[in-house]
């Protein structure tokens, strides 16, 4: 029997939008309880061994055990008040087995020896039941036992050790700056996650990991009574695989490519909200875009989401094979295109790497949720599709001798499956600045920040908005535009990429809540890039009138 405890963060009004998908699973706990000593690895090894032994005795040919303690903290404010401080914890064990050639999974929050053994037996029984409705047996890529190993996100300041008051004071000062600057409303929040994960498998691995993530965010709103219009601007932060040090930015963490300051590796929330307050004023009166073809200059705060949707998702092997057909969709990057070794995904400048090791990224771990060490590999090389993202039961399909380590579960009571690693666009190897790229554009739009996004179920046709749209005329930024969205086809779009800035502009974008699977699971992943130029992209005007 699986057991799951949901703590709803109800009554949050507009801030609810910020919380969509935030994994607030678990019981609420006091702040001090976050700091309780972690259960020691030896105790977890004893529990894992009970599960491994029980599953084997019931007929499992492979077993893995995940003992997880998941801590979340959300500090949520609106205008001059705190809406919620939620501390949650979820702790339990998930056991996955292969029996009769089929997967089975069961989980429990009861960690006594008897409950663990019973749960292992249940997983085997479910596997045997499922085996009547399978067509072929699970084929698992080999993974050598690693013995007892550990990994930790290299944080400088544990966000859970920073007093809530300090976070509340920061958010209220952010809100105060927006309201003093003439904004009508602001919602600001900080979310933090700590996954304390222990993995053991019948291959002989015992892996202890401590993973941290943080996401500061806000939305500033300006209304204009006379016209009945309103505009918003979201924070230009990125969720990161970091500790609270992310909140302290020095001059070396700031990038100024033209009309505004952007952030690299650290974030200055107070400075960004002051800029955002200016921006919502400008957005209210900005000119509505003339639809047509434009050259687009896309900042990493925006381009990351395009990479996520149009490169990350279609190269997930489970989609390619049809395992997500009823929910997330399939993929246009079918195996024949990969086998041909000449499928022209993008221009020669398009080089995309998967990377599970990248420091500060949301996807960085030492080992995935089936005990495979993290690595790095090419997905698109000089514009050609060369690889996908795999887990252990898929590697053989690509003729690989080992998994690429892309297995993840969002909780101890969710079954692990293939999830996206960090997928990033490589910067220009030659020196190239954003200013020079903008200078090269005659008629274009410089887009910053993530906006609305939509893509079809095979990842051909997409439409993206943004937070800020700057018109470029004859190499100069001349003002702000409204009602901008661009529509393209994935292959066409990446083939229209004619320029990209160098490493000095390279920054990480992140998404905290990537949904996939039924029942749906959430995962967090980063996408790095430098600012890039795309020529002749179709821009539409999204403005309409109602009533």
């Amino acid at each position: 029997m699986k057991r799951r405890n949901f703590i709803g963060l109800a009554g949050m009004g507009a801030a609810g939008a910020l919380l969509q998908g935030f994994p607030v699973l678990g019981r609420t706990i006091e702040e001090a309880e976050f700091l309780v000593q972690r259960a020691d690895a030896a105790a977890k090894k004893r529990m894992a061994d009970i599960a491994l032994q029980a599953a084997r005795s019931k007929g499992a040919t492979y077993t893995d055990v995940r003992i997880g303690r998941y801590l979340n903290q959300a500090v949520i404010t609106r205008d001059n008040r705190v809406q919620n401080v939620a501390n949650t914890e979820s702790y339990g064990i998930g056991i996955r087995v292969i029996a009769n050639g089929s997967w089975g999974f069961a989980a429990t929050e009861k960690l006594d020896n008897d409950s663990i053994a019973k749960t292992a037996a249940l997983a085997v029984a479910i596997a045997k039941g499922n085996s009547k409705l399978i067509i072929e047996s699970v084929q698992l890529a080999p993974q050598k036992g690693l013995g007892e190993v550990s990994w930790k996100t290299p944080i400088e300041k544990n966000g859970f050790e920073i007093p809530v008051k300090e976070k509340v004071d920061l958010l209220l000062s952010v809100n105060d700056a927006a309201l003093k600057g003439g904004a009508n409303f602001i919602n600001a929040s900080i979310f933090m996650i700590n996954e304390q994960k222990y993995f053991a498998s019948s291959d002989g691995s015992y892996i202890d990991q401590d993973v941290h993530r943080i996401w500061p965010s806000f939305t500033v709103t300006k209304t204009d009574k006379a016209s009945g219009k309103f505009q918003t601007r979201d924070a230009l932060s990125a969720p990161m695989g970091m500790g609270y040090e992310y909140m302290y930015a020095g001059p070396e963490h700031k990038v100024n490519n033209g009309p505004l300051t952007l952030y690299k590796g650290r974030y200055d929330m107070l400075e960004d909200v002051k800029a955002a307050t200016q921006h919502v004023h400008e957005k209210i009166t900005a000119r509505s875009v003339e639809p047509g073809k434009y050259d687009l200059v896309l900042d990493p705060t925006h381009l990351g989401l395009t990479i996520h949707e149009a490169t990350g998702h279609p190269t997930e092997l489970d989609r390619v094979l049809g395992y997500e057909a009823n929910y997330a969709g399939t993929s246009f990057l079918t195996l024949d295109k990969w086998k041909s070794k000449n499928f022209n995904y993008g221009s020669k400048l398009v080089n995309v790497q998967a990377d599970k090791l990248q420091p500060g990224s949301l996807g960085a771990v030492g080992y995935d949720d089936e005990g495979v060490p993290s690595g790095q590999w090419d997905i698109i090389k000089d514009g050609i599709l060369v690889n996908y993202q795999t887990i252990r039961d898929q590697a053989h399909i690509l003729g690989l001798k080992a998994s690429q380590g892309c297995c993840y579960a969002d909780s101890w009571d969710s079954v692990q499956f293939q999830r996206m690693p960090n997928v990033s666009l490589m910067p220009n190897k030659n020196k190239r600045s954003v200013q020079d790229i903008i200078k090269s554009v005659k008629k274009g739009i410089y887009i910053v920040g993530r906006g609305s996004y939509s893509i079809d179920q095979q990842r051909y046709n997409f439409q993206f908005g943004g937070q800020l749209f700057y018109e470029i005329k004859d190499g100069q930024i001349v003002g702000m535009l409204n009602d901008v969205a661009y529509q393209s086809n994935t292959q066409e779009f990446w083939n229209s990429m004619t320029d990209i800035a160098d490493q000095s502009d390279y920054r990480l974008f992140g998404t905290f809540n990537d949904g996939k699977g039924q029942p749906s699971q959430s995962s967090a992943v980063s996408h790095g890039s430098s600012t890039a130029k795309f020529e002749g992209v179709n821009v539409i005007n999204t403005g309409r009138k109602i009533g």
Binding site: G8, G129, G228, D456, Y460, Q518, G543
Partner: protein, 445 residues
């Protein structure tokens, strides 16, 4: 057993309240049991069982509130969770929008619990899914689907004597059927309170038929077309609008319900006069809770009558500030009241096609995202069966489109409404809409 009876629930909550020392205390108890089975490539991929039972305590001293929860139910644990909520309340900042708890009320008995749905087992789920897979295999097609059932209860009691209890069941089945070449795709998705109404075999046949009849889709020019939206497509488009029926965001000037120059559109003709929308927790097809999370009774509420906005939801805090009566919103999350119900006519989809000169039949939409909060313009794509209609007949399947359209504009362009059916958490008719805006073509199947 995670589904506790009204009497057992009342006894536990009374005991919890007996430990309370705060000015005001609200305790809630909720639990559910659910199971699922997932298929892909004509085989089972995963299956699972989930159950939960959790007690929440909310303690307030003045305007300071603390919340805590626990899933252990011995006396010591019950007292511990109350003390923890009280400690957190003392440390919490004052909430200027705090509203005192409500006293007792007579809530209508909910009708949402079905014994047969609650009694489903892994075996019954596997049998139902096996029937679905057989349709695909027999027709040399490929199915990927998901079946999930749940039974749950929730209750709230407070130190002012309020007690409310509700239990419910639900079962949902969806399946995508594709041909082996990947050139045709069909889909169905239905939810019921009573599993007796779920026929996985018949539903999979509909998806299979869409898969085979959508092969060979032709490209036609994007532009404005008359569309017939099946109820699933209609609910994809309209699912989000009801959340905008909220007085506070309208008053604050950041909603499509806000008016130029200030004020709201309450009382205005915002939609075509054929549009009538309400919610009703006692509708047998879409039963909901008869009380809201903050203890207000929830009954049948009219939101739109003959195209005129009749009501906007109002929180207790905003109602007090504005001197109006509070009103719970329809369905979802913290609201009780069941989902959105829209009136229709008697016509079937086939009859609606017959009297259409030129148009497009849409099975469903996909990946809908808000483009403009001001006008509710959304973008998304058609999927799993899009067909061209001419002179009262389906002529041929067409390639999928991306649209950019506002549900507000759409509900001003209503030509005809058919017979309503439940789709997800709404009951909606199939609808014929003129001038629906498709902006580009997609190669996706």
């Amino acid at each position: 057993m995670a589904i506790l009876s009204k009497d057992d629930t009342q006894a536990i909550l009374k005991k919890v309240l007996s430990f309370a020392k705060a000015d005001e205390t609200e305790v809630s108890l909720g639990g559910s049991q659910s199971g699922n089975i997932r298929t892909a490539r004509n085989a089972v991929s995963t299956a699972g069982e989930v159950s939960n039972l959790s007690l929440g305590v909310s303690s307030s001293f003045g305007k300071r509130t603390g919340n805590a929860s626990i899933n252990e139910f011995d006396d010591a644990s019950l007292e511990k969770v109350v003390r923890r909520a009280e400690e957190l309340a003392r440390l919490a900042p004052e909430n200027p929008e705090y509203m005192p708890l409500l006293g007792p009320s007579n809530f209508a008995e909910s009708i949402g619990y079905n014994e047969k749905t609650a009694a489903m087992t892994p075996d019954t789920r596997a049998e139902m899914v096996a029937k679905s897979l057989k349709v695909a295999k027999d027709n040399k097609l490929e199915a990927a689907g998901f079946l999930q059932n749940s039974a749950g209860f929730r209750a709230v009691m407070n130190s002012k004597g309020l007690f409310a209890y509700n239990k419910s069941t639900d079962v949902a089945f969806s399946v995508t059927v594709r041909n082996q070449e990947g050139t045709g795709s069909g889909y169905v998705d239905h939810s019921y309170n009573d599993v007796g109404k779920l026929d996985t075999l018949a539903l999979t046949k509909i998806a299979a038929n869409k898969a085979t009849s959508s092969v060979g889709a032709k490209a036609i020019e994007p532009g404005r077309y008359t569309v017939i939206l099946e109820p699933l497509a209609a609910s994809d488009m309209l699912g989000g609008i009801i959340r905008g029926f909220d007085l506070r965001t309208a008053d604050e000037g950041r909603s499509f319900m806000s008016k130029k120059g200030g004020g709201t559109r309450l009382g205005e003709q915002l939609f075509d006069e054929k549009v009538n929308i309400w919610s009703d927790p006692l509708n047998p097809e879409l039963p909901g809770s008869t009380w809201s999370g903050d203890g207000m009774p929830v009954g049948k509420t009219t939101w739109v009558e003959n195209g005129v906005v009749k009501n906007l939801a109002v929180s207790r805090y905003w109602a007090q500030k504005k001197g109006v009566q509070p009103l719970s919103g329809p369905g979802g999350g913290r609201f009780g009241g069941g989902g959105m119900i829209m009136a229709g006519g008697t016509a079937s989809i086939e009859e609606m096609i017959k009297n259409t000169e030129k148009g497009i039949l849409v099975t469903r939409f996909w990946y809908i995202r808000m483009v403009d909060q001001q006008t509710l313009v959304q973008t998304g794509l058609t999927r799993d069966g899009t067909f061209f209609i001419e002179n009262g007949q389906i002529k041929f399947p067409i390639k999928n489109f991306r649209f950019n359209e506002s549900p507000i504009i759409m509900l001003n362009n209503v030509e005809e409404l058919g017979k309503p059916v439940r789709s997800g958490s709404s009951i909606l008719p199939p609808m014929k809409i003129r001038d629906f805006t498709f902006t580009s073509l997609s190669d996706a199947i």
